[in-house]
């Protein structure tokens, strides 16, 4: 459902919201948002950011650069706002978990770590 004029969202409605994929898999929460200035001077929300650097930045700005120095952008991912099908306490995404790097982490852990443990269901 695209955002219509009568739906006004504040940052509070989006930050920390649950991200759920098309197949109803919970893949994470929104850590931060990115916006871009348009030529006409308006600020438009462009993407959702998920990852430890964004979270660290919300605790204290200097933490963001410290965590970035350690993690080097490897674990922060962006999801374009156009991919959000439905807004609410849960943000429903158009794609499946495999379409988003943050959604692939479960599969990576399952394939590389859990598969060696008996009974993992791999």
């Amino acid at each position: 459902m695209p955002i219509t004029d009568d739906q006004i969202f504040s940052i509070r409605d989006i930050i920390d919201s649950q991200l759920e994929t098309r197949e109803k898999r919970r893949i994470g929460r929104v850590s931060d948002i990115e916006a871009i200035w348009q030529e006409d001077g308006t600020l438009v929300l462009s993407s959702l950011v998920i990852g430890p650097q964004a979270l660290a930045g919300r605790i204290a700005s200097p933490l963001r650069s410290i965590v970035r120095f350690v993690l080097r952008d490897r674990f922060d991912h962006r999801i374009p706002l156009d991919d959000v099908e439905d807004f609410g306490p849960t943000l429903r995404l158009r794609g499946s978990a495999a379409d988003y790097p943050v959604g692939q982490s479960d599969a990576w852990i399952a394939n590389h770590i859990l598969r060696w443990i008996p009974g993992s269901g791999h």
Binding site: R26, I27, R29, S105, A110, I113, L114, G119, G121, H122
Partner: protein, 280 residues
């Protein structure tokens, strides 16, 4: 069990095994019941000179163990695992009241047993083995076996509760897939956290620290942080957006705030005293 057992096993197996703690009451009866003097310590505790620090330390640990935040994480997640609805409020009330009363009864019975058997021998019940002696005195070798089963059941229940409570908390906080009724690969990050915490627990266990002293110290620290860890719950319990007409009444709020403050003050006072006096 934490790895693969479905939630109803995790919930029911330790609870059923925990029924063995009723044998503590049988033990008290077998020893002829508590004396009137001992019963009166329930409301008028005898704190000997120089033992106030130890006493406060035990009070803080008992409060911390009873109202541990892990209990709330585990319990609330369990309610979601079992798909509770607003129709489950009565079930919730019965479970909370009967469960807590049963647990408290078992604990009080064991303290009574310890006082009846160990105090006359001037023993401090400072190890689990000494506590087991009181059941051996009351019911013989069979009592020792019952004590071992009760110890296993309560440790199993506590271990499952803490490891799952932490994993639930982290997975739900970060918005990951979670749940004990799913295969581990279907909630991979949740299960990875669970394994990491199990390994950390095993590593701490292998360090050879006395489990009783470790549990006491852990519970006291929990009591110290109770106001911080449970304040968000207090806010939620008063939020009509979440609870509609089921928000806390004034009495419940005052009771919760008083209990949290008592736990904090007792822990705050007793920890430095306990350290200064050399512990135990």
């Amino acid at each position: 069990m934490a790895w693969r057992a479905p939630f109803d096993w995790i919930e029911n197996a330790p609870a059923l095994l925990g029924l063995v703690t009723l044998s503590f009451i049988v033990g008290i009866i077998a020893l002829g019941g508590p004396s009137h003097q001992l019963l009166s310590t329930l409301w008028k505790p005898e704190v000997k000179q120089g033992e106030l620090a130890d006493y406060l330390y035990l009070v803080a640990a008992t409060l911390g163990a009873t109202i541990s935040p892990y209990l709330l994480y585990f319990y609330s997640s369990g309610a979601r695992e079992e798909h509770w609805t607003s129709n489950s409020l009565l079930l919730n009330r019965v479970t909370a009241i009967v469960g807590m009363s049963f647990g408290s009864l078992g604990s009080i019975a064991l303290i009574f047993l310890g006082a009846m058997v160990l105090q006359p021998l001037n023993m401090q019940a400072s190890s689990l083995g000494e506590l087991g002696l009181s059941m051996a005195k009351a019911l013989g070798p069979f009592g020792t076996l019952l004590f071992a089963v009760a110890l296993f059941a309560t440790c199993l229940g506590a271990a499952l509760e803490v490891v799952l409570g932490v994993s639930y908390n982290i997975a739900q906080g970060f918005g990951w897939e979670w749940g004990e009724d799913k295969k581990p690969v279907e909630a991979a990050r949740f299960n990875l956290v669970l394994i990491i915490f199990l390994l950390v627990a095993v590593a701490i266990g292998l360090m050879g620290i006395d489990p009783l002293q470790l549990a006491l110290a852990g519970s006291t620290v929990i009591a110290l942080f109770l106001p911080i860890s449970l304040f968000p719950f207090l806010v939620l319990m008063n939020d009509p957006q979440y609870l509609r007409d089921k928000t806390n009444g004034r009495f419940s709020n005052i009771a919760i705030i008083c209990i949290l403050l008592i736990a904090f003050v007792v822990a705050f006072v007793s920890i430095p005293l306990e350290i200064l006096s050399g512990g135990g």
